[in-house]
Symmetry: C2
């Protein structure tokens, strides 16, 4: 059973301020909590139904977490999900460690002020699908520990390293010849990229304003998704997926040819 204090604290973590103060965030729902238990992330405590505990005994034991058994109704009452009939974990925010930059091997996604938590979560899932292990966010981008981001990422937050820093400063650390591809409504068609790079940065602007003027100066190539109809734009996550798909296709083709 959940105590009043436990319930109060779990609900407090719906808000950014409490997450910051405690260095903890929520992971909710059966599938993603099971994935979390199997990962190396540090779990503070686990709130789960008897059914969940029965199904995942082995993983729970292995993870050695503080376990609180509760009902589905109790879980739903403290969850951000409309219904949560399985599990909720309190997870420690990892120390923000900057991985050594690996632009020679792979793509990095750089996000210039993505506001919508659902979009950020979706972008993490897409990065994970396309094997992009690193997402660098401008300070104005949504907070990765927002429950909406975690839920929309469908577990991909476990595998994609997310950091926050001014993107101008981030670009300064990159080798001078790093390709910085900026997504624009007008640019080179990604269907016909000539001499496409096989690593670098994919820069996406905010939903409303696009890439900021300051960062536009750093873009080495403006790329665009060809339109065949009348829609004015694509959602930023959708656009990211189409861009990643083309870049990965081109670099795979290249490795076949060489």
């Amino acid at each position: 059973m959940l105590s009043k204090n436990q319930a109060k604290n779990l609900r407090a973590l719906h808000r950014k301020k409490a997450r910051r103060e405690q260095g903890l965030f929520l992971v909710e729902g059966e599938k993603v909590v099971a994935e979390l238990l199997a990962s190396s992330w540090q779990i503070d405590s686990l709130y789960a139904t008897p059914e969940f505990i029965g199904a995942y005994q082995g993983l729970i034991k292995q993870a050695g977490v503080v376990l609180v058994e509760c009902s589905a109704a109790e879980l739903t009452a403290v969850s951000t999900l409309v219904s949560n009939s399985a599990a909720l974990a309190l997870v420690k925010m990892p120390e923000p460690t900057l991985k050594p930059l690996d632009t020679e091997q792979a793509w990095i996604l750089a996000l210039d002020g993505i506001n919508d938590p659902g979009n950020l979560g979706s972008l993490l899932r897409i990065a994970d699908w396309y094997g992009i292990g690193q997402v660098v966010c401008s300070p104005m981008t949504a907070e990765v520990y927002n429950p909406k981001v975690i839920t929309a990422s469908k577990g991909s937050f476990l595998r994609v390293a997310v950091s926050y820093q001014p993107l101008g400063a981030f670009f300064n650390q990159l080798p001078a010849n790093t390709a910085i591809l900026g997504a624009y409504l007008e640019g080179e068609s990604i269907h016909q990229l000539k001499a496409s790079p096989s690593s670098g940065v994919i820069l996406l602007g905010s939903e409303a304003q696009g890439i900021s003027q300051e960062l536009a100066l750093r873009v080495t190539r403006k790329i665009t998704i060809p339109a065949f109809g009348a829609a004015e734009s694509l959602n930023v996550g959708v656009a990211a997926a189409v861009i990643c798909d083309n870049l990965k296709r081109l670099s795979t083709l290249k490795s076949y040819q060489s």
Copy 2:
């Protein structure tokens, strides 16, 4: 000013039952209402702020609609949007006319039970971007006049014809040699489609269950989006965009070559 009765009726239209009974649905927000006014869709009435009315006088006069001036606060109180500081229109549902099938010229999107209104709206926007004018939905798919669908489509509902029918019966009406490409997690890679068709049906399954068994038998080719990382799946809208992008790229290439 909005009368109590007007406000009550607008709020009633948040629900499917009232929409069905009245044959009306809501279109909300400045940009999409402006697009609507410029279209040939039949508008029952328009609720707008003095600022909106001033900015779009010409379009409003041309459309010849019943106009109710109200404040942004009044609009927000009857809107499904968190804030609506401009306009809301009541629009007549068009008669469900089945366009003559045009599979020889273009792609049709077939949706097998897409549940989430946000996903359906997103799919309409993607269809519109890729010049797909027709979306055929199984009866279990979300209702296109749900305000969340209309909002997520960003005006694309105005340009993409949506119909509802059992997909088996729909496939029976197609010419025998029509390509029906089904999106699966395992299938032919869309990066290396051999002899890719330049028209036909793209069939997408529901978020949770994928393509139903009955319809799987009708699929002429199973296609898949190659994965490069560890995410288990992509969102259905994201998947649709990547598939459309590849098919359009291939048919454009073909028309260059021939």
